[in-house]
């Protein structure tokens, strides 16, 4: 039973070992866990057994065998599928808002909070003098 389960798991996703060189294998695993499977949008192509994910893994393997760098491989994917294909979208004009918004919101929230707290402190001081 356990053997059967293990076999099933091994078969489900062939994102396992594709390179004998451990360094290449590590690079490969990092890349496939950074790329979104577009058919099943909340999975990486490492976790997905959709055939498109398999195609993209095979393509990444091929590009690596050709000696392309990580940046070139990400470029290859972004020019075809857009920024959305990367789980960590790169800084660009279009994705700028995505990167800046959280910091902007924290800053605005912080300023509001400080003002509210100061207002209350001033109020409580007034209360004491009454």
């Amino acid at each position: 039973m356990i053997l059967f389960l293990a076999f099933g798991l091994a078969n489900a996703i062939d994102a396992g070992k594709v390179f004998d060189d451990p360094e290449m294998q590590a690079r490969y695993e990092k890349i496939v866990s950074e790329v979104r499977c577009l058919v099943c949008q909340n999975q990486t192509i490492k976790d997905s057994n959709a055939f498109l994910a398999g195609d993209l893994r095979r393509e990444i393997q091929r590009l690596m065998e050709e000696g392309r760098s990580d940046a070139e491989i990400y470029d290859f994917l972004v020019t075809r599928y857009g920024d959305f294909v990367l789980y960590r979208p790169r800084m660009s004009g279009k994705t700028m808002a995505l990167w800046i918004a959280p910091f902007l919101l924290i800053a605005v929230g912080g300023i509001v909070a400080i003002r509210v707290v100061r207002g209350r402190m001033a109020l409580s001081v007034d209360d004491d003098t009454d």
């Binding site: 577009l38 058919v39 949008q41 055939f51 498109l52 195609d55 993209l56 393509e59 972004v78 020019t79 075809r80 599928y81 857009g82 920024d83 959305f84």
Partner: protein, 177 residues
């Protein structure tokens, strides 16, 4: 007064943003290929493996490329419309048969009718990747300079054709702005 005004204005701004956001289909991802040169390709013809079908077939003219497969439910849905469209329009419709079995695809065209001038057979999905295909059916409109004018994901309908394709085609032909 301004105590209430500021949150009120904020909510008034945020509601439309959320409404728009909720009504957008997250499975439709804008193609980075839009207004860029379409990838060139050459593949064996679906019906006649000895022949090649590729971007050279429609080079220098306005064309449609429809990505389809027999396992794709949406492709069956749009098939009747494609047959009608192929009859009505003078724009050549090419097929990219994507990750399919050749015999299945050929018999599907025999049974249901063949709207395509020719279909290229992309057995392993290599060309599909170049075109950023992630869900059939997808339909591309390519102009004479080989630029992708529009990409439609999901079945093509008369409504989509009138609303999205027709104006772009007319503009391309210089009939209207």
């Amino acid at each position: 007064m301004s105590r209430f005004l500021i949150p009120l204005v904020l909510v008034a701004v945020m509601i439309p943003v959320f409404v728009i956001g909720l009504n957008r289909d997250p499975s439709e991802i804008p193609s980075p290929l839009l207004m860029k040169p379409a990838p060139e390709f050459e593949l064996p013809s679906l019906k006649d493996p000895g022949q090649n079908v590729g971007s050279a077939n429609y080079e220098g003219r306005l064309a449609l490329l429809n990505v389809w497969a027999t396992w794709c439910v949406g492709c069956r849905q749009e098939h009747d419309y494609l047959l009608r469209l192929a009859n009505e329009t003078d724009i050549p419709l090419y097929g990219l048969n994507w990750r399919d079995r050749r015999e299945d695809a050929v018999s599907w065209l025999q049974q249901l009718g063949d709207p395509y001038v020719a279909s290229a057979y992309d057995e392993d999905g290599r060309v599909g990747i170049d075109w950023g295909v992630y869900g059939a059916p997808e339909t591309f409109l390519i102009n004479a300079e080989g630029v992708v004018l529009y990409k439609h994901i999901s079945p093509l309908t008369e409504e989509v054709w009138q609303k999205e394709f027709q104006p772009r085609i007319l503009a391309e032909k210089g009939i209207i702005e």
